[in-house]
Symmetry: C2
Subunit: 219 residues, 2 copies
């Protein structure tokens, strides 16, 4: 259709090979996000991705090797953006405050970039299938997130803001499960989820459930 596939003005200045492939990669990942949102992963074809990005039907396969390879790239691309939100929101906080800030960051991410949030969840879901070629990507991301949360909890215990008798790893798994589960429920039925309200409740519950004993009770 247009003279330059990705819509950039490059008539005067020729591009280097690296620039060309960076542009087409970006265009195909964007096209994939659109198509996954529209049709889901199953009904999104590599040919449609290549053509929507302004290239041929064969480029997506050629560049990413396989459908799973492309989805893996999309997964990593969106994850990178999400991690920026997370870093931005949490900063140097630890303990319960870090956990609450991460919840707020997640809410902000879902609000600012609902398309990314939806696609990320859809792709994580695809990783649940055995032999999924980007399963390890999902496992790594979730493991890393659990480690981060566990560290916040340990730090909270160390500085006396979190009770000593909780298991950081267990808390981390629960916390990550909660976020992923809410995102899933939101994806399949957006109207049924009030993220803002749920987050406020969750933050209060975290403060109550993890607060170090201030004088009273047991074991």
């Amino acid at each position: 259709m247009s003279t330059s596939p990705a819509g950039t003005a490059c008539a005067t200045q020729p591009l280097t090979q690296a620039e060309r492939s960076a542009i087409s990669d970006r265009a195909m990942i964007d096209a994939a996000i659109d198509l996954i949102l529209e049709r889901g992963t199953d009904k999104t074809t590599l040919a449609a991705i290549g053509e929507k990005a302004g290239y041929s039907r064969g480029l997506a396969t050629y560049r990413f090797g396989s459908k799973a390879g492309l989805f893996d790239a999309v997964c990593k691309s969106i994850s990178r953006r999400w991690l920026e939100y997370l870093k931005q929101g949490v900063g140097e906080k630890t303990g319960v405050e870090a956990m609450c800030a991460a919840l707020d960051a997640f809410l902000k991410f879902v609000t600012d970039a609902p398309r990314d949030a939806r696609v990320l969840q859809i792709l994580y879901c695809g990783a649940a299938s055995p032999l999924s070629e980007y399963r390890t990507t999902s496992v790594n991301i979730h493991s890393k997130q659990q480690e981060d949360v566990a560290r916040w909890v340990r730090d909270g215990i160390a500085n006396g803001t979190i009770r000593r008798d909780v298991d950081p790893k267990a808390i981390a798994a629960q916390y990550i499960a909660y976020i992923g589960g809410m995102n899933y429920l939101w994806v399949i039925n957006p109207d049924s989820i009030d993220f803002r309200r749920a987050n406020e409740d969750m933050k209060r519950q975290l403060r109550v459930a993890l607060a170090a004993d201030t004088g009273s009770s047991s074991t």
Copy 2:
């Protein structure tokens, strides 16, 4: 291979048509569960399901109409078994006790029937894709579960065991999200999840976070 497809002894006594189709349905759903566990939904073919069940490559399509139709049937079949565990475990309990009993029932289900639990999660994940033909099945199941939990919370508030200032629907969504999220983490990386420990922690947190004020504090 064998003379009777599903392995039943029927040489002497002819079967009714209803029995025949019930047997083949059952056999194909079982075969589908095996194959989904082995290869995931994408790489499970309708032909393989029919043949593993002891029939022809075409029967699965003929009976269930489409791959999504078959998965929908598998989803409903396993859900039915899970709901029996749930009913069994919860009985007439309400409030926090019902929520804790449901967690125990879930643990028991995952322990007794890990294959069912894995496949159910894999199928729920498939329902996250737009245009997924069994998405409504997942939405309905999750909605119903949320309603059940919300009712337990309302009953708990009514009989004074749960604090008045919580939103039953929000609590229900969080609770269902937690269970689904844990199941997901377990499916993608079983070693990282200690369900027993997590459930004990969760029960304690539910009791702490939802307990009606007994004299002290805020608002």
